[in-house]
């Protein structure tokens, strides 16, 4: 199966004029839950151009591939010619982070917000072209920052307080004695005001936003608008395959800004059980492709993992040649050096690279490691390190090779 070639090519194909059935078939593999998907189909059948909304937070500039899943759905709608509204939620960023997480984050200046927005676009542009004519960028402070009390009153009375309190995360926090701020309770309503302002027909987001989306729909209805339909993507599992979501704090993530070698290595490190979920999340697969893909994974998981990793490098870099080169590099590392990933010894992710390697008991001292690094004998995910890199932390799931025969797989919570 030429998975990587076929799906890489499909990444940039125009979807103008795509039938509603095919559009839905492309979206469904990336959909955990949806509200009104039949409405979407019907409206496309009627020839309507939909307003598709996606909101993001401009406070944290570094994305991981878990953030890209809804972006891939947005890309599908965009290539199909629908109107895309990409909203940066700078209103709450300027006033303050509603989730707080117990800490007061510093308020962001306009300059910092602009910088973060630019960084965000640079990162997602690998997966979704934000420069297309049908993509419109908004900052919701444009309307939320100009709202009089009478309007606020009108919007908020559409949401029932009991309904707003139904969230499992609010209830479990209250039970654990952790406070929920009114700002968090209000958040879904603010999303609804965004949707009303933009007259959104469809909103894309993670399934964890379900209750916010329901509030947004209520707000739209209260203003006489048709409630937006919702496509919710799964919260992707992290590379360690232990069931935890992909997260920087768990050390089981793949940064969007990772280089080719790191991306390839991290995809190769995933358990076989994650191959199909990752294919569905990141590749433009139609629903009808899935049985064939599942069969291929069952028959040859290692080959499909390499195909997936090649596809991801190609997509991230914008070059199929880069994807193929990453695969070649990886295979050379293992076939010529006679080191198998399965043979790699797992070491805990403690301290820096030097600490990790010393914990194996294989090396006598930091001086020995320094000499090996100077000779080019130590590699991390296939790249030679400098001696100074021995003092740096290592991301989880990294593969460290020393010489021709020694390989170590780093696991456990990152110190980052």
């Amino acid at each position: 199966m030429e998975f990587e070639k076929n799906y890489y090519t499909r990444n940039t194909e125009s979807l103008q004029g795509i039938s509603s059935d095919d559009l839905i078939a492309l979206i469904k593999p990336k959909t955990e839950k949806a509200i009104g998907i039949d409405n979407i189909k019907e409206r496309i059948d009627n020839g309507e151009k939909l307003n598709v909304k996606f909101g993001t937070d401009p406070t944290g500039p570094d994305l991981h591939l878990g953030h890209i899943v809804p972006i891939r759905v947005l890309d599908i709608f965009s290539r199909a010619g629908h109107n895309i509204d990409l909203i940066f939620g700078d209103f709450t960023a300027k006033v303050g982070d509603p989730t707080g997480r117990g800490d007061e984050r510093p308020l962001l200046t306009d300059e910092k917000i602009a910088e973060n927005m630019s960084t965000f676009r640079n990162q997602v542009d690998r997966y979704f072209d934000t420069t297309r004519d049908n993509v419109h960028i908004h900052q919701n402070s444009q309307w939320l920052g100009k709202m009089a009390l009478a309007s606020v009153f009108d919007y908020l009375q559409a949401i029932n307080l009991s309904q707003a309190m139904q969230r499992d995360d609010f209830r479990s926090r209250a039970q654990n004695g952790k406070a929920v701020s009114l700002a968090e309770v209000m958040y879904g309503a603010l999303m609804g005001i965004d949707s009303t302002h933009l007259m959104s027909d469809v909103e894309i987001g993670g399934v964890d936003q379900l209750l916010n989306f329901q509030q947004a729909r209520d707000i739209q209805r209260s203003q006489g608008q048709r409630a937006e339909d919702i496509v919710m993507t799964p919260i992707i599992e992290g590379t360690s395959g232990d069931g935890r979501k992909m997260s920087k704090s768990y050390g089981n993530y793949i940064p969007v800004r990772a280089d080719d070698t790191e991306i390839f290595g991290k995809f190769m490190s995933i358990p076989d059980t994650l191959i199909v979920p990752y294919v569905k999340a990141f590749a433009p697969v139609y629903e009808q492709d899935l049985p064939r893909i599942i069969a291929a994974v069952h028959e040859s998981p290692m080959e499909m993992k390499k195909q997936l990793a090649t596809y991801m490098v190609a997509t991230a870099s914008g070059s199929r040649e880069n994807g193929l080169a990453a695969r070649e590099n990886f295979e050379r590392l293992f076939s010529e050096r006679k080191v198998s990933l399965d043979d790699a010894v797992t070491l805990p992710n403690i301290g820096n690279l030097s600490d990790i390697l010393l914990s194996s008991g294989t090396f006598k001292s930091k001086s020995e490691l320094r000499r090996l690094a100077e000779q080019g004998g130590i590699k991390v995910d296939g790249s030679k390190i400098n001696p100074e890199d021995l003092n740096s932390p290592v991301t989880n799931q990294s593969l460290i090779t020393v010489g021709k025969r020694k390989a170590f797989n780093v696991d456990g919570k990152s110190d980052e």
Binding site: T92, L144, G145, L149, F153, L156, A158, S181, L182
Partner: protein, 174 residues
């Protein structure tokens, strides 16, 4: 001899109904202590809640201004003057909403609304958030050092003390 003081009392009221005589108690209290008292009259929130026209708001404000000056208040400021730019209203509410917890808000609701929670809308959150911002502005902009309040507003003022720097209040019998 007049008492030399930097103290200034503040009294916050919203223009739901025409001014009532209980307001006189607060001016009297301040007068007995030779301390100036300023009135913070909220015309914005009632204007939104009762959908008042500018004309209706102006008429109500005129009543309040005359009444309070006659009652002995040293100055009267309307919240529409304190917060001139209506564009920032949501920002004000959102700022305060970050401080008030959900459980705190529930405790501030009148009992009948607490019991009828399914019928209570999120718009109820506006009141405590807005009032915190008004009270805070009274301190920072109008120089109020101590608010006077009756028992009815005690819960809100206790909450304000937790959230607003330099917030002091005294409770008087109405």
């Amino acid at each position: 001899m007049e008492k030399v003081t930097n103290s200034k009392y503040g009294f916050n009221v919203w223009t739901k109904n025409a001014p009532k005589s209980y307001i006189d108690l607060f001016a009297k209290y301040a007068s007995e202590r030779n301390t100036p008292i300023g009135a913070l009259v909220d015309d914005v929130l009632p204007g939104a809640v009762f959908n008042r026209t500018p004309q209706q708001t102006a008429e109500m404000n005129a009543q309040y201004y005359d009444y309070m000056i006659n009652a002995g208040f040293n100055d009267v400021i309307f919240v529409s003057e304190l917060f001139e730019d209506r564009n920032y209203d949501l920002q004000r509410i959102y700022t305060a909403s970050r401080k008030i917890t959900l459980s705190e808000f529930i405790s501030l609701l009148p009992e009948y609304k607490r019991l009828k929670q399914p019928d209570t809308g999120l718009n109820e959150m506006i009141d405590p958030c807005w009032q915190l911002e008004v009270l805070s502005a009274g301190i920072s902009v109008r120089g109020i050092s101590t608010y006077l309040t009756g028992k009815r507003s005690l819960a809100l003022f206790r909450s304000a003390k937790d959230h607003i720097a330099n917030f002091n209040f005294e409770v008087i019998d109405e």
